[in-house]
Amino acid sequence: MIEPKYHPGEEILLDYADGSLSEPTALVVATHLALCPWCRRQVAELEAIGGALLEDEAPEPLSPNCLIEMMARLDDGSGSGEIRPGADRLPTPRPEPAPAPADLIRIPQPLRSYLDAPLERLDWRPVMRGIEEVDLGLGRAPVRTRLLRLRPGAAVPRHGHSGLEINLVLAGGYHDQRGRYRFGDVVVDDDSVDHRPVADRGGDCVCLSVTDAPLRMTGGLRRILNIPLFRR
């Protein structure tokens, strides 16, 4: 199995681990993690740092009844933690789709649970010649979370970005003047990037794409995030 070559970069992984990434970007990162044992290791380390910082926190005194209440809740089946308390306030997670036939592209979790059908049966809408999309309806405008499908050789017109764009390659591949991206790669582009991606020949290219992502970090260093920083 070929492991991805382009990674989200340390700052994005840190924001994923410390919980500050918004859901669309976190979805891209988590799906990449399913495909990238190396980034999983990085996130585990960053979470361990979070654990050490929690341990270092000065304890905040609890109200006198807190423990008694807590112990009473252990017996109270209705407050079971197995059902997420507060789940009723959240959009209902879509049911798990039937397992995809082996000949279809295997979509890893957590992305799979965000799709209501196998890739081929999704409601693909044409964007322009050779390019189709499925909008996952995730994130507040102007953020868009989409699956993009490019026919072999399809070219996206030269474009810049008004915000941050993050792509995860799920099938096939594409290239631009900076590199060639394949299965599992994460490509981060910011407004300083003016590029013209072209799908590789030999098969459709499918990407999970988040545009205008509100990342916590701002500033001019985003471009370097896309460099595979931690090559082994």
């Binding site: 361990a48 929690l54 000065a58 304890p59 609890l62 807190c66 407050g79 308390p85 979790q109």
Partner: protein, 225 residues
């Protein structure tokens, strides 16, 4: 009459036992937690946090849970307050987090992460769920589509259980300006640019300090004990 009593007695006994048992163990747990908080962590050191979590998983031990609660709940409350949650809600959410600890203790794997790390991830996700009202996308380790680790990570020199202690020592040894930025990254939602503006430190310096801190901690995790 006597017969009726004889019939009723075991029932009454059972009822009393049923009533007392949870209360007795709750009492023990209270005592455990009081000792725990009162004796500044001595109890936690006696029986470490990983063992306590395993005792909850294996025996549904209430005293062990009480000790975990005494240790973690005040820290979770502090963590949530730093992130802007008011004290009342922070305490309520700390209870919710500990309830998840109680119910999900079987999923705790001490070879993967220490109890502190595990609790941190639960608290982080609970906050995303309850405060931000978002789902937390996470990969599924049992997903057949997951690309497995090629070989058991050889660079992992430190056992998960010791990781937290070593990291704490290392964080303590960081230059203060690095340690502070690290805490801000985990315990503050502010963009790095806002941190930079507030403290009058150039953005590039914020990022490079953070990167230096992470590098140092990572290197430490790879060093043999």
């Amino acid at each position: 009459m006597v017969d009726a009593l004889r019939l009723a007695l075991p029932f009454a006994e059972a009822t009393v036992r049923q009533w007392w048992r949870p209360r007795l163990s709750a009492g023990l747990a209270t005592l455990g937690a009081m000792l725990e908080t009162g004796l500044t962590d001595r109890a936690a050191r006696g029986r470490n946090l990983d063992e306590l979590t395993l005792a909850v998983a294996r025996e549904r031990s209430r005293p062990a849970f009480g000790a975990l609660f005494g240790h973690f709940a005040p820290r979770i409350k502090s963590y949530l307050m730093r992130l802007g949650t008011d004290p009342g809600q922070a305490e309520e959410l700390a209870q919710e987090v500990m309830l998840l600890v109680w119910h999900r203790a079987e999923t705790f794997d001490p070879t993967q992460a220490s109890a502190s790390t595990w609790v941190f991830t639960i608290a982080r996700n609970k906050r995303i769920d309850a405060i931000r009202r978002e789902r937390r996308p996470e990969f599924d380790p049992n997903d057949p589509a997951l690309v497995p680790q090629p070989v058991e990570a050889a660079d992992r020199a430190v056992e998960a259980g010791q990781e937290t202690a070593r990291l704490r020592a290392a964080i303590g040894a960081l230059p203060e300006e690095q340690a502070e930025l690290l805490r801000l990254a985990y315990f503050d939602d502010k963009p790095h640019s806002a941190i930079s503006a507030e403290r009058g430190i150039p953005l590039g310096t914020v990022k490079s300090r953070l990167r230096l801190a992470l590098e140092r901690l990572r290197r430490l995790l790879k060093e043999p004990v």
